[in-house]
């Protein structure tokens, strides 16, 4: 259900952008969703369709998932996040606050917990298309 909070943020943000750009109607909103947050796309889509009103009423939401890539700051190793490495408790924690990944996984090569999330962390508003 955290997807509803994310959907609300996307809608608020899209409305802000539409206002700023002087759009009278929004046709399309492109969103990137990072794998690390393990967002249930079906729920996010449903929440967006339920929450869209006004200028966004007829908007189509295009959602692209982005692989989560991590890089060790100690040895430089780059690897893809896999939710299978986590148990249910840590999976849920990372879903709500992706940074808590640092509490649960380490670099698979050197074992350091000092790694960075290169891409695929969470939700980003990529672009908005509409009419003025």
């Amino acid at each position: 259900m955290h997807e509803w909070a994310l959907a609300e943020a996307i809608i608020s943000s899209a409305i802000d952008v539409a206002e700023r750009e002087g759009l009278t109607e929004v046709k399309e909103v492109k969103i990137k969703v990072g794998e690390l947050q393990q967002v249930e796309i079906d729920i996010l889509e449903f929440a967006l369709s339920e929450l869209k009103t006004g200028k966004l009423k007829n908007a189509k939401f295009v959602i692209e998932t982005v692989k989560a890539k991590l890089r060790c700051r100690v040895c430089g190793y780059v690897w893809n996040f896999s939710r299978n490495r986590l148990d249910d408790v840590s999976r849920e924690a990372v879903h709500f606050v992706p940074e808590t990944i640092h509490a649960y996984i380490k670099c698979p090569k050197c074992g350091s917990p000092d790694f960075e999330i290169l891409e695929g962390r969470g939700v980003l508003l990529e672009s908005i298309r509409g009419v003025k």
Binding site: H2, E8, V17, A93, F96, E99, H102
Partner: protein, 244 residues
Amino acid sequence: MDPRMAVIDKRLEGVRRVIAVSSGKGGVGKSLIASALALHLARRGFMVGLFDADFTSPSTHRILGVRDLEIKEEKGILPIHFRGLKYMSIVAFSKENPLPLRGADVSNALIELFSAMLWGNLDYLIVDMPPGIGDATLDITRLVRKIEFLIVSTSSVLAFETVEKLLALLKELKVPVIGIIENMKMKQDSPIKEKVARFGASFLGDLPFDSEVEDALGDVDALLRTVFAQKLAEIVPRIICQNS
């Protein structure tokens, strides 16, 4: 574009005052004061939230004895109800594991929680800050429009020197400061009150070093019986009155 920023004001619209309990240095008693302040305000009948924003060294859950830190959600993350407080700590997510975070991660986690937490209606949201003028301090002044700072120092000039820097930063950022509490006062002729006055800030009061506090950790009733907590209760009206 990060969509989370657009929803933070809305998440806090039911919160009347957000008070960041902060300091220049660690170990001055911020978390204890934040926890006891939240409890005192709740006892006075206010609706109070306590948010532990010290992600790498959280301690309010230990001070209060919060054990069931389960994550509950309903179209957002719900705070835990504990002894009349709405409460949240990163420990609900990281459990007892170390959480080594760099600055950008601290910012991201702070934005995530401020954008997803459903605090509802509160008179006060007390935020226990990490020490210093790093990412969390800069972020909270940027993210939370209604933020006010309550600053903690010890009697040591070393602690107060860092407080001066914090005060200078907050002045520059035009962030309201409720005042300064001198904690663990070492001697009667402590220079802190005078130094605060010279800085044009408000001195709210001092608290003694209380050796009983250590044994009261994890027990709210015992904590509230300490001299530390009772002295803090005398300062609370000054915090309530100072609606910056």
